[in-house]
Amino acid sequence: MIRNRLKEILLKVKKKVFTGNLGNTLSTFKGTGLDFSEIKDYVIGDDVRAINWKSTAKGLGVKINLFNEERELNVIVAYLISGSINFGVRRMKQDAMAEALGYISYSALKNSDNLTTIFFDEKMEKLFKPTKKLGILEDLIGHALSLDAVGHSVDFESFCTFINSSIKKRSLIFLIGDFYGAVNISKISHKNEVYALIVRDRFEENPSFSGDISLVDPVSLSEDDLSLDSSSLKEYKKVLQEQDDRLFEHFLAHKVKYGKIYTDDDIYMKISQITKG
């Protein structure tokens, strides 16, 4: 079951990343390299070795080539495991998160960036050491699909401590999770470039339950009978909206780029939009 799903996701990831616009996560530093960026007018001080003679010969002044600087990026992907990702109406959030993980990892690997992957709940659950090998992709997605999230919750405090103590180099950090509860990533955001991918299911934000229903909290595992009506659902949406507003405010205050990805979205597209800013 997981095996098949893994293959599906792998195929999807490879296809999308391969055909899609590669290098979206590349640095925008201009410098020497092989990756051609653009042609611009020569100004005094520019490297004469970069003069594009063909363009210059066309008679519109001296032109030089610009290249994207070849710089090895440190990409950290954190898969945040909380019980609440074990949910989804048409597709599990855990599954959608695995796909997102796949896109980012594959893009980074294709770019020959250093990829570190962390699975984190209350503590570090599993760490894939920095690598450039494409073969790790299968392990990453496989692990993301097969882990059991129920009963766990993300401790952002210790997550920040872990990142700060183990990652010294300035990095690009992708957080994949559903971001419920107390989120505080201020300790890592000032040094690194952080992207938060908030994976949600539409039903959890807009539940159409009615009447009596028995629900289990996937973190504390406590069961409760709830009696729902339209007024309490309205209240619920308000409470959820407040929590999200607090979350976005926190992200904005710490210059974290964020975006919501729903399980029924085109995840690749969504990630591109979020990373392009």
Partner: protein, 298 residues
């Protein structure tokens, strides 16, 4: 008015305790699903859940109130099954009219009635014939009212149906369960109606175990002390003789003291049941709850 409401079975209120416990600890088992934002949902439904549970508890409270049977004690009269039953037999023949004898007797008997608060009392009258004026009852007021209306000669003025009166009033005790049955026979004449012989009357008296106190008033020649004494002795009572108002009063006082009722009276309560009100309200709230549930499904 309100503080008179009492509960017949206050233990019924205990039902509320297991209900409240069950409301939180033995919930109905339903299929449960994981829901990620359960925390928020719980917070959002807190108010309506509280309302619903309060409604449920209120319904059970009302139902148990109805089961506890609230009553209003409208009137408290006195009952004494195991106490005394006293039958007063009063001579109302023509001769009683002399010297206001009947008036004095009425007065003294009235006083006696007031003293015997916890006893059932009956009243029989005799003259030419005997009849039961009031059967055994706690209702002293009606006896008194009737006593006031009585006049000498009300049952014929020429003769004295003493044995018949004794026989008739003894029959009052037919369905009685009282431990002590007492008759006070008051006369100023001799029996001169022969429809019931003394033997038959005495047999009835003994059959029901009635203690007969006999009171002869007037001079010794007016009544037959031997017969009265015989009746008293055979039934275990006592014979008295009075020739003055003072003496008669003393006699009734003596009887009152001799037959002092020691038992505290059981209370007989005339109840008005009020259970319909909490029951009706509970039903109404149940319908409200159903309606609420119904609305939720929309």
């Amino acid at each position: 008015m309100l503080n008179q409401i009492v509960f017949e079975y206050p233990l019924a209120f205990l039902i509320v305790i297991p209900f409240v416990i069950c409301l939180y600890f033995c919930k109905p088992k339903m299929d449960a699903i994981f829901f990620p934002t359960m925390k928020f949902l719980k917070k959002a439904t807190k108010k309506s859940m509280l309302l619903e549970n309060a409604l449920k508890v209120l319904i059970i409270l009302l139902l148990s109130t109805a089961l506890a049977s609230p009553i209003i004690r409208d009137e408290i009269s006195v009952k004494n099954d195991k106490g005394y039953e006293i039958s007063l037999i009063i001579d109302a023949s023509g001769s009683m009219a002399q010297n206001n004898k009947f008036g004095i007797v009425k007065e003294i008997v009235g006083d006696f009635l007031t003293k015997r608060v916890h006893d059932k009392i009956g009243l029989s009258i005799f003259g030419d014939f005997a009849y039961v004026a009031v059967p055994l009852t706690y209702d002293k007021n009606s006896i008194k009212r009737l006593l006031n209306r009585l006049q000498a000669g009300i049952a014929g003025s020429s003769r004295t149906a003493l044995y018949e009166a004794l026989f008739l009033s003894s029959n009052l005790f037919k369905n009685s369960h009282a431990k002590k049955k007492i008759a006070i026979l008051l006369t100023d004449g001799m029996n001169n109606v022969n429809n019931i012989p003394l033997d038959v009357a005495m047999k009835t008296v003994k059959k029901y175990g009635i203690k007969v106190y006999t009171v002869g008033i007037g001079n010794a020649g007016d009544f037959d002390p031997n017969v009265l004494r015989k009746i008293a002795q055979e039934s275990g009572g006592k014979f008295f003789h009075a020739n003055s108002k003072q003496k008669l009063k003393e006699i009734y006082n003596t009887i009152d003291k001799l037959e002092k009722s020691k038992i505290k009276a059981n209370k007989y309560v005339k109840k008005r049941y009020l259970f319909a009100y909490p029951l009706g309200l509970a039903l109404f709230l149940s319908i409200l709850l159903l309606f609420r549930k119904n609305r939720e499904l929309v």
